[in-house]
């Protein structure tokens, strides 16, 4: 099977754009990624579009109306917070299978403000706040509290994740925020669901990101190998059964299974990874995923954040983009924005936040329900 390369990628600056539409936002990132590759829509053989909230309304075809209706096949993907990564993976798989040489993957989302999750229980009355809480901050508070239960992880350690990622975002002009948030400010912010304060919750923003993928022969024929980045692994899992999984979504097992597959595909171990963009939808999530991705041993996540191992300049920088916490989390765009970030570092084009000498990067998203997608990218030249 052919190798698959990212030959063009970009994202818009995340923000709030209530006067624009999903197709307009998606089109902007698509055109930027095409420009990055030096290609046009006429070179694309298929479009894979990730969008969650308008999934029943043909978002990919509507993007094409904005950038050129060439008649290519469009696949619309929806997979909770793994939506963008799913679209990317579908494009990857199609090239691997030999169906196409060059495809476009777009992730786009328009979000409202406020709490997500916490739907009713199907009875005649809403059950949120009556039978526990199903809001996203609460679900991920439970994730963190399980780590506290097992390893004694503290509120302060979780809060340090937000300090780090907000600091990183000050170096990323495409992040929603570029504001330092000292530890006291993070811990003193409004408590949402203990231990997640408001500054430990990801930002609901609008955004889009896109990537152009090519087979090895196409990348060479088009003269695009110079800045190409190889996709060394694409792993996706659904949640395997674990006790309590149906009551308290288990984001650990689904990630560990995907990580194992991704490392096997890539023929590397976690010690070979130079930077990671992982799913910090809440500060509590980042620490558990250090361990799920094998960046440290079980129980070492708290120490890792204490010792700065995952900060820019540390042993394995995590979320140097600012992460979902500060760059923002437009659900369908997030997975491809991660690809943009890691690709940019592997190309040596990340400016002030550049992870020096980066050769291998990993992206991770997890969607509740659950879906986990992990990609391993490698510098070619």
């Amino acid at each position: 099977m052919t190798e698959v390369y990212v030959v063009g990628t970009d994202m818009i600056k995340f923000g709030r754009f209530p006067d624009r539409t999903v197709p307009q936002l998606g089109a902007e990132a698509a055109l930027m990624a095409l420009d990055d590759a030096g290609l046009t829509i006429h070179d694309m053989q298929a479009l894979y579009c990730g969008n969650l909230y308008e999934a029943s309304n043909m978002p990919g075809q509507r993007v094409l109306r904005e950038i050129g209706q060439t008649g290519i096949p469009v696949v619309n993907c929806a997979n909770a917070c793994a939506t963008g990564a799913t679209a990317f993976r579908e494009g990857f798989a199609a090239i691997k299978a030999g169906m196409y040489d060059v495809v476009l993957c777009v992730g786009v989302e328009q979000m409202g403000k406020g709490l997500l999750g916490g739907g009713g229980g199907g009875s005649g009355i809403p059950t949120e706040g009556l039978l526990g809480s199903g809001t996203m901050p609460s679900v991920f508070a439970h994730v963190g509290m399980e780590h506290t239960r097992n390893h004694g992880t503290t509120f302060e350690q979780f809060a340090k994740v937000s300090v780090k990622n907000h600091h990183h975002s000050t170096l990323n002009p495409k992040a929603m925020y570029q504001i330092e948030t000292p530890l006291q400010e993070v811990m003193g912010a409004e408590m949402i669901s203990y231990p997640n304060t408001k500054l430990m919750c990801s930002v609901n923003v609008d955004g889009s990101a896109a990537a152009v993928l090519a087979s090895e022969s196409a990348a060479k024929r088009l003269g695009l190998m110079g800045r190409a980045v190889r996709v060394r692994a694409s792993a996706m899992t659904s949640d395997p059964y674990t006790p309590r999984n149906l009551v308290m979504p288990d984001f650990n097992a689904v990630t560990r299974l995907a990580a194992k597959q991704a490392y096997e595909q890539a023929g590397i171990g976690p010690e070979d990874v130079n930077l990671v963009e992982l799913h910090d939808c809440f500060a509590t999530a980042e620490i558990v995923h250090y361990e799920n991705l094998g960046l440290c041993a079980d129980g070492e996540g708290g120490r890792m954040i204490d010792e700065g191992e995952t900060a820019l300049g540390g042993r394995v920088p995590v979320n140097v983009s600012g992460g979902l916490l500060s760059k923002g989390h437009p659900l369908g765009a997030t997975g491809i924005a991660n690809i943009y970030e890691v690709t940019t570092h592997l190309r040596g084009e990340a400016g002030k936040r550049q992870v020096e000498g980066a050769r291998i990067g990993l992206t991770h998203v997890v969607g509740m329900g659950s879906a986990c997608a992990i990609h391993v990218l490698e510098k070619v030249n």
Binding site: L115, S193, Y194
Partner: protein, 141 residues
């Protein structure tokens, strides 16, 4: 109005059973092949995939606190703060619910503390004025 107030409360979830002549209880489904216990009716075991092995089981009204969070911000109209708790029931089954009758402070709540399952009015009515019976957790000691 008087009819609704005197009417029998409805169960807040399908697995809360209210017998005509007895105390309310929670009903689970247990897999005859692997022994896993689930809330609510199902035909196939999610753990082992066995078909037609599910049998109803009356879940215990005692358990231990596996996990909790104290919720301070919620949707408009939902009283805060409250404790969202995940409890492992004796004999199998895991359940999420509100832990009540204690201070909603992380310092006061202990992992593995014993809890009881109690049944009380939900405090919410549907648009037709029906009352609902809900389950809650209370500290056992």
């Amino acid at each position: 109005m008087p009819e609704a107030e005197s009417a029998k409360p409805l169960p807040v979830v399908s697995f809360l059973k209210i017998p005509e002549d007895g105390e309310p209880y929670l009903e689970g489904y247990k897999c005859g092949a692997c022994g896993e216990v689930f809330l609510g009716e199902r035909l196939v075991c999610a753990a082992c995939g066995a078909r037609n092995k599910m049998a109803t089981v009356r879940l215990a009204d005692k358990g231990t606190l596996y996990n909790f969070t104290v919720v301070h911000r919620n949707f408009p109209g939902v009283p805060v703060p409250f404790i969202s708790a995940i409890v492992d029931l004796e004999g199998g089954g895991t359940l999420k619910g509100n832990l009540v009758d204690m201070v909603p402070s992380p310092e006061a709540i202990k992992f593995d503390m014993p809890v009881n399952v109690v049944f009380r009015d939900a405090g919410r009515k549907d648009k037709d004025g029906n009352s609902y019976l809900a389950y809650f957790f209370t500290p056992a000691s």
